[in-house]
């Protein structure tokens, strides 16, 4: 009797299923992403950790590197300086953000719109770009001090050493505190305050006992973010020539002594530990403290109309702060159009020559930037969308792990990632050549991709969360396969969010310096941010550097505005879809 072929086929099927349980396209994607994240994030960072705890010559596990670190006075000083600069930046940033947040949320103040739009401008400029311009305005022989010296005969050391770093960083990063604090203040229901007034409390006492504690979680979130960003930043201290801080020391050790020197790794470990500590501390503080108290139909805090005198005072404070905040931009603009600007309040004359020079010598920087940022942003949204889908729509084992791993990049400073890549990829060759991978330009793009992935992932997750599952189920019930549903329903509905994620990733990747500065091996491979850094090294190059800086600001500004417009338009489309 001939054997029934169907039975045989059935066995083969079952065997395949047993060997590769439930293998589907989405599983393959998940595995691929996991490998990508392990290879490009986990392994390099682990490398850094391992080297820090290894004896440089024997490879044995040791704490000696850390002992050496703390026995070297330069490193102790750098450690203390980094800590001091970060803490002081938080203090100064708070001093800038608190009045702005308070005035906009508590009073009917016509300048609020000014604060809301101009208050965020610092974020569209990489901090190191403004550093040189700040030097020219606030430095020892800068505009302000020249005027003060002439009139009063003394100097104010705004930019001396660490002061300069603190000033530049706090002006750059205060919007993080402003955004979070304002949101917190706005989320306090007016009945919270009224209940206290009803029970006999008012004025400063009311602020201290009710308003401030309720706004605290938002403030802490913003302050922690500022602390980490400043602690990790490499570009600003480098450009201000302040080298006795942790990130610059790591960079200098690796770039001058080489990748076998353990001190760069020790510093990296310290940077990562501080990042994680401050994220963890702010998480601990926030836990169980969702103080959002605005009720449905409630109006947030009661806003008061200002008296004439208070109005003048408020305008004075706001205009002073905004001038301070915009001074890097103003300085950069002057520098880019100036002929010679030295020992004078303003440039000697104005010219377009800097832009011509910049254009002639920076074409490679600009094309490189566009290439790297496009690759990074494209990969970011592809990986981001895939992770978002896997986490929200599938039950794949370990899906949360992908999310956590991608998000963990937030806690890894750019310098650390850069060092990790150098160490991991210097032994590997680019396929089909003898070039080491560590100096291959693709690695720069991949580093940018990993650095920007957490933000793109959040954008994609938010976009997918807005797509109701019932829309997918409707398509499936009408006969569409999973793949067709993703193609025809999910991706088109997510498109706005994905695009916004792409634009933000692109714009911020375009001006990233701390990871790229470690990985750029030749000027031909350098992106724009590195170009600015090079220009700013020589006084004669500063004009062209400033012009390139203006280009960077414009790129980020266009990106930020575009992504806002896309998000707003998307909201509108969604809301018209919902209305009856």
């Amino acid at each position: 009797m001939p054997q029934n072929p169907y039975i045989l086929k059935g066995h083969a099927d079952r065997l395949a299923k047993w060997l590769v349980p439930n293998l589907s396209a989405i599983h393959l994607v998940a595995v691929f992403i996991a490998l990508l994240l392990i290879g490009l994030l986990l392994v390099p960072v682990a490398q850094v950790m391992i080297v820090a705890f290894q004896d440089a010559s024997t490879g044995a596990a040791t704490l000696q590197n850390f002992i050496d670190f703390f026995q070297t006075s330069l490193f102790r000083e750098s450690f203390w300086n980094s800590f001091y600069v970060s803490a002081m930046s938080v203090v100064v940033a708070t001093a800038i953000a608190l009045p702005l947040a308070y005035i906009t949320t508590r009073f009917h103040f016509s300048g609020s719109i000014l604060i809301q739009s101009l208050g965020f401008i610092p974020l569209i400029m990489p901090p190191f770009v403004g550093a040189v311009a700040m030097q020219l305005i606030f430095g020892r022989n800068g505009t302000i001090n020249l005027i003060i010296r002439e009139k009063f005969g003394f100097d104010i050391p705004f930019m001396n050493g660490l002061n300069g770093v603190i000033l530049v960083q706090s002006i750059h990063y205060f919007p993080f505190i402003l955004i979070n604090l304002s949101a917190s203040l706005r989320n306090i229901d007016r009945s919270m305050e009224e209940a206290a007034q009803n029970l006999g409390s008012h004025g400063l006492r009311l602020f201290r006992r009710i308003v401030f504690p309720l706004a605290m979680p938002g403030y802490i979130a913003g302050a922690a973010l500022v602390f980490i960003k400043v602690f990790d930043d490499l570009g600003t201290p480098l450009l201000l020539n302040v080298n006795n801080m942790l990130a610059p020391q790591a960079f200098l050790r690796i770039s001058s002594i080489g990748i076998s020197d353990p001190m760069g790794y020790v510093i990296s470990v310290i940077l990562v530990i501080f990042s994680i500590l401050s994220l963890w501390a702010s998480f601990l503080f926030m836990r169980g403290k969702d103080y959002t108290t605005v009720q449905k139909g409630g109006g947030g805090m009661a806003k008061r109309i200002l008296k004439t005198r208070e109005k003048f005072l408020s305008y004075g404070v706001v205009i002073f702060i905004l001038l301070l905040v915009l001074s890097p931009h103003i300085g950069l603009l002057l520098l880019s159009f100036g002929t010679i600007w030295s020992y004078a309040p303003l440039p000697d004359g104005y010219t377009l020559q800097n832009y011509v020079t910049m254009w002639e010598s920076s074409k490679t920087f600009i094309t490189n930037t566009i290439l790297y940022a496009s690759i990074a942003a494209t990969l970011d949204v592809i990986v981001g969308t895939a992770i978002a889908y896997i986490v929200l729509r599938t039950g794949i084992f370990g899906r949360k792990g992908l999310d956590y791993l991608a998000t963990a990049a937030l806690a890894i400073p750019g310098v650390v990632l850069g060092i990790g890549y150098l160490r991991t990829f210097h032994n590997l060759d680019v396929p089909f050549t003898n070039e080491p991978m560590a100096s291959w330009w693709v690695i720069i793009a991949l580093a940018l991709m990993i650095r920007r992935l957490p933000y793109a992932l959040r954008a994609c997750t938010a976009a997918l969360q807005q797509v109701s599952i019932s829309l997918e189920e409707a398509a499936e019930s009408l006969g569409a396969t999973k793949r067709r549903t993703i193609q025809k329903i999910v991706i088109p509905l997510m498109a706005g969010g994905i695009l916004a994620g792409f634009v933000t990733s692109f714009a911020t990747a375009a001006v990233e310096l701390s990871a790229t500065i470690m990985l750029v091996s030749s000027n031909n491979d350098a992106p724009l941010a590195y170009g600015i850094y090079l220009f700013m090294q020589t006084p004669s190059g500063r004009g062209a550097g400033a012009a390139l800086g203006i280009v960077a600001v414009i790129v980020v500004a266009i990106g930020t505005i575009a992504s806002q417009v896309i998000i707003e338009r998307n909201k509108k489309i969604k809301s018209t879809g919902d209305s009856h």
């Binding site: 009945s191 209940a195 009803n198 409390s201 008012h202 309720l214 403290k289």
Partner: protein, 350 residues
């Protein structure tokens, strides 16, 4: 506790162009449980907030006892207010929430503890003193908000829709508890609500507001039985409104409907007006014509359990009639010609 009366004279308040309170005058007796009842936008909450001192300053007079408090800062008024959202501060324990007002009054901490304990005892929540507000249920939060307010011994207690965030069964229980506490403390209390049942079951007297104007003041029964205008009649329960005119023939008054049917009115009723108001339970439905009945036709009927509700066209309009239901009783089918027997002593002429 001190009992204080409240006297409001000719209160006006506008938000920009819109007049929110338009000449409100009323008097609340010491120790009275008084309700402000009205639809949303009627100005009832604004009026309450004006008494507490929140929102823009109105024109007119607000007297507590015999002092004018208008223009006084909220923290100087000694008026207790329980907010609709309870407004418990999420960063303080229950004990610190309740003790807040006492600490503002700089009482010695020992006395504060005694008073807070007593207040928590009063609302039966002593065991929750060290919890955070977000660990409490809605009903518990409500009681803590109440304890926080009465612990400072205010002269007047204001309740802004205090039951609206509770579920239905809890609401009934809480309103009884509120009333019990109010009676126990003898506090002059104003209760704002849009729910007539809440106002009816709790208040000694109430004011019905609409469009920033007080429509009528009186006890719940007075307002239900003798509404002074169509708004009050409609807002408090179901009202059948018949349009027509009054004829006086010697000692007899009768009401002629648009359809020409006549109803003789009782002696005491008003002689001016173009409408009479009849409550659904004061009309009975019959097959036979009798004296003082209106002919009509059954359009629709609904079985509501204890009652059967008929919709009957009569007197040129649709009339709602509630008949109590007994087992085995006959129904009037749709389309049946019927006669409506009207108890005219209950009819109100407006």
């Amino acid at each position: 506790m001190k009992k204080a009366g409240i006297k409001i004279e000719n209160l006006h308040l506008s938000f920009g162009e819109t007049e929110v309170l338009n000449g409100v005058s009323l008097e609340i007796k010491p120790g009275e449980f008084f309700a402000f009842l009205g639809p949303s936008g009627s100005g009832k909450s604004t009026l309450l907030r004006a008494i507490a001192g929140f929102g823009p300053k109105p024109k007119g007079r607000i007297m507590i006892g015999n002092k004018d408090i208008l223009g006084l800062d909220p923290w100087k008024r000694n008026i207790g207010m329980v907010f609709q959202s309870y407004a418990l501060w999420p960063h303080m324990t229950v004990r610190n929430n309740v003790g807040f007002g006492l600490r503002e009054r700089k009482l010695p901490s020992k006395l504060i503890k005694t008073k807070v304990d007593a207040a928590l005892d009063l609302v039966d929540l002593s065991h929750l003193a060290d919890r955070m507000p977000n660990q409490l249920s809605g009903g518990q939060q409500q009681r803590i908000a109440l304890a926080r307010t009465i612990v400072v011994e205010p002269e007047v207690l204001l309740l802004d829709e205090p039951l609206s965030n509770l579920d239905a069964s809890l609401r009934v229980q809480m309103r009884r508890e509120l009333l019990r506490l109010q009676r126990q403390l003898g506090l002059t209390t104003i209760f704002v609500t849009h729910d007539q049942e809440e106002a009816n079951t709790t208040s000694d007297r109430m004011a019905v507001l609409d469009g920033g104007v007080i429509q009528q003041i009186g006890s719940p029964q007075e307002l239900y039985d003798k509404p002074s205008n169509l708004f009050v009649a409609n807002f408090l329960g179901t009202a059948n409104i018949l349009e027509g005119k009054i004829e006086i023939l010697g000692n007899n008054k009768r009401f002629l409907t648009k359809t020409g049917d006549s109803l003789s009115l009782s002696e005491g009723s008003s002689t001016v007006g173009n409408y009479i108001i009849l409550r659904p339970q004061n009309i009975s439905i019959n097959h036979k014509k009798s004296k003082n009945s209106l002919p009509g036709k059954v359009r629709h009927s609904e079985f509501l359990g204890s009652q059967i509700r008929y919709i009957v066209t009569a007197g040129g309009t649709e009339i709602v009639i509630d008949q109590s239901h007994r087992a085995g009783q006959d129904w009037f089918a749709n389309g049946t010609d019927v006669h409506l027997l009207v108890n005219t002593s209950t009819a109100v002429v407006i």
